[in-house]
Symmetry: C2
Subunit: 417 residues, 2 copies
């Protein structure tokens, strides 16, 4: 297909994605699920698990392999802009007041699931449906540890935003703990990938480069941008020149963190934190938010769903393993985070909320799993098991949340529609 | 390169494009050129004519062939959203009052350049540097006619917007005449392409389908959307659900007009006209405009520039031909439109402005030329000649405009920065 044919198809794909997401959102809202979950499920429905099975010809026509790089690129663009906004809303001062809670929650959220994941890998390494023959024990343990300790950071961010908790202390706590956990998991993944390629220096670039980038953005860039913030405060609006400059910084940040093999979302998120607050942040939100969430972001959730094939879970033994993994994941992450939050004097309600949010793996998990599958670390069976785990832990999040924060949540979701 | 590698590169490409466009805009504003011209030139500078020549390694690294489909898709997305906004701003009532002027200007703007183009093709068909051996005389005449009568519709729209003329009677007149001309030229192109593939039914689909689409959108859809407009008027803002629905319509319109081989911009433009006015239109503009023009649209102008190679004009004879083509293009389009506007009692100033705007070929010309080159209708020599003509007629537009509407234009440009 030529570039032109692909662009024609893109319009049809986007129209279809927007339409299906809209319908799914209407259905799932009645079931008490948030929009982000409905988009994730819409993606799975459009993938091989349903549409590819019921209407294979249409499925092949609409999503040919050649069009995948374009959809992926747009999905990343949407994700990066979205994570940037989450960073813009992120309140560093609020987190300072609860630093000890955040540190404990994120530590518990890494150490416990990592240990359980590594333990599972230790017992399961021999299974040919799960790990490839060339994966060493250490690699398997590190990968499973990382995969278990991942949090659906973008999803967590969106649920927090959808429920109207972005600027609350709870929301900030969960965001901080989630982002630390995810960054740590991506660093572990960098180590695994580096050892897979026998190039240890790659791990060093990822971790060292990530730290340097964070330091630069939060210490220097943030200060340098302050006059720009004052200018916007005085003028009352962001000029096009300033907007272009900000977008340039976001793209550079996303590129750099991708380049050093962490992940673009962190670069964008940190750039968001580095932006001036007040009018500047409000204007950025006003300009970037609607088109990003209504138009670009659904592509991310749909793209990930397109690669998910639930039919791969095809033996009772694999289903049994799926249950074990789900249990280990929820105990390791959800329960451990709940316990850590309680330990630091958070209320039962807040601790439950944090545990549930941290437990949702969402589609960040799918990304790490796709990398594992592509690089030949894990096999299709384990992939399908982990996908199940990711979907179920994510589905659990909103109903639990609805219970804890019923009124707010429903009001907010209605407003979003 | 994997999808992932391409998406990493995309962030770098976008950062680079935004940076170069910003710098070029600062330079060209001092030279009295509008932002859209500076973006077009930024594109040429990043292409083989300068960057590819001075820094070939960097150029190949930054814009590998594999990444072109992604850039093209994003450029089309930006263009479509932009043309949709132009449609939203388009005032059908205003045009009704000047229907006879618009009809005459667009007729003159088609017939005269078409005749001159066809005449040139008649004399030049034998030249091997210009037309391929399999192009028949009729095809050559039709193609050159269409290529000469094209107007830079998106560019014209942007200049009109940048100069703050979108809702004036002059702006509407130029937009109407430009859109009619372009639609006609694309229909002629559809005929040429259909005859090239020996499939006459394609021409029928293009023209018949285009008419049906326009009728449907402007007669039915526009009426059906009216209640939505009243709802937004009452509420004061567009809900996310409505926004998604509107974007879905835009994508469908773009896809359909591309699919029947007219061009996505018309579908998007007509969808824009079909939208309810008032608060609804204002909200759409507020939401879609900033990110589209600051982020997506520059990619369109840059992408086209990437494919332009001025070095192909390498003999005195080709330069002589370039001058003849330029003269014929300006006489045929600019002067004819000026005369038609005067004939209908427009003032000298307005007629000059309309003639200049209609004369600018911009990057719409590049698209039609790229199609001609890809399908083997024209050769690289004629391609380069026509590109020169497109760039010069476009460069002429803003300075002439500055002279006629000096105060407004400068004020507007300053505000844009």
């Amino acid at each position: 297909m030529s570039s032109f044919d692909l662009s024609v198809l893109l319009f049809l794909q986007l129209a279809f994605i927007l339409g299906v997401c809209r319908v799914t959102a209407l259905v799932f809202r009645r079931l008490g699920q948030s929009q982000v979950v409905s988009e994730m499920i819409a993606g799975v429905l459009m993938g091989p698990s349903l549409m590819g099975w019921l209407a294979p010809a249409w499925s092949t026509y609409l999503f040919p392999a050649e069009s995948k790089p374009i959809l992926f690129a747009i999905s990343q663009l949407g994700l990066v802009l979205y994570m940037f906004l989450i960073g813009v809303e992120f309140d560093l001062d609020l987190i300072k007041s609860r630093l000890r809670s955040a540190a404990s929650v994120s530590l518990a959220g890494i150490v416990v699931p990592f240990a359980l994941g590594a333990l599972l890998a230790y017992y399961l390494l021999g299974e040919s449906a799960l790990f490839s023959a060339r994966t060493t024990l250490l690699q398997a343990m590190l990968f499973m540890g990382a995969a278990m300790s991942i949090t659906a950071f973008p999803m967590l961010a969106r649920i927090i935003f959808e429920q109207g908790l972005s600027k609350t202390s709870l929301g900030t706590l969960a965001l901080a703990a989630g982002s630390i956990d995810d960054a740590a998991a991506w660093c572990v993944l960098a180590v695994v990938l580096a050892s897979f390629q026998s190039r240890p220096e790659l791990a060093f670039y990822a971790i060292g480069g990530g730290l340097l980038f964070g330091l630069f953005a939060l210490q220097f860039l943030r200060r340098w941008l302050r006059p720009l913030g004052n200018m916007v405060e005085a003028r009352g609006e962001i000029s096009q020149g300033t907007l272009v400059f900000v977008l340039l910084l976001v793209m550079l940040g996303a590129w750099f963190t991708d380049f050093i093999q962490i992940y673009a979302v962190f670069g964008a998120f940190i750039m968001g934190i580095a932006m001036p607050r007040g009018k500047f942040a409000a204007e950025l939100h006003r300009i970037v938010y609607p088109l990003t969430t209504a138009f670009l972001l659904p592509v991310f959730f749909v793209y990930s769903g397109l690669n998910t094939h639930i039919g791969l879970l095809n033996t009772p033994y694999l289903w049994f393993l799926a249950c074990v993994v789900l249990l280990a994941a929820t105990l390791g992450k959800g329960v451990a985070c709940y316990a850590a939050a309680r330990w630091h004097g958070e209320s039962h309600r807040e601790a439950m909320a944090v545990g549930t949010l941290m437990n949702a793996r969402g589609l960040m998990e799918l990304i790490i799993l796709n990398i594992g599958l592509q690089r030949g670390i894990i096999e299709a069976g384990l992939f399908a098991i982990m996908v199940m785990m990711a979907i179920i832990t994510t589905l659990m999040a909103t109903p639990v949340f609805e219970r804890l924060y019923g009124g707010t949540a429903t009001a907010r979701t209605r407003q979003e529609g």
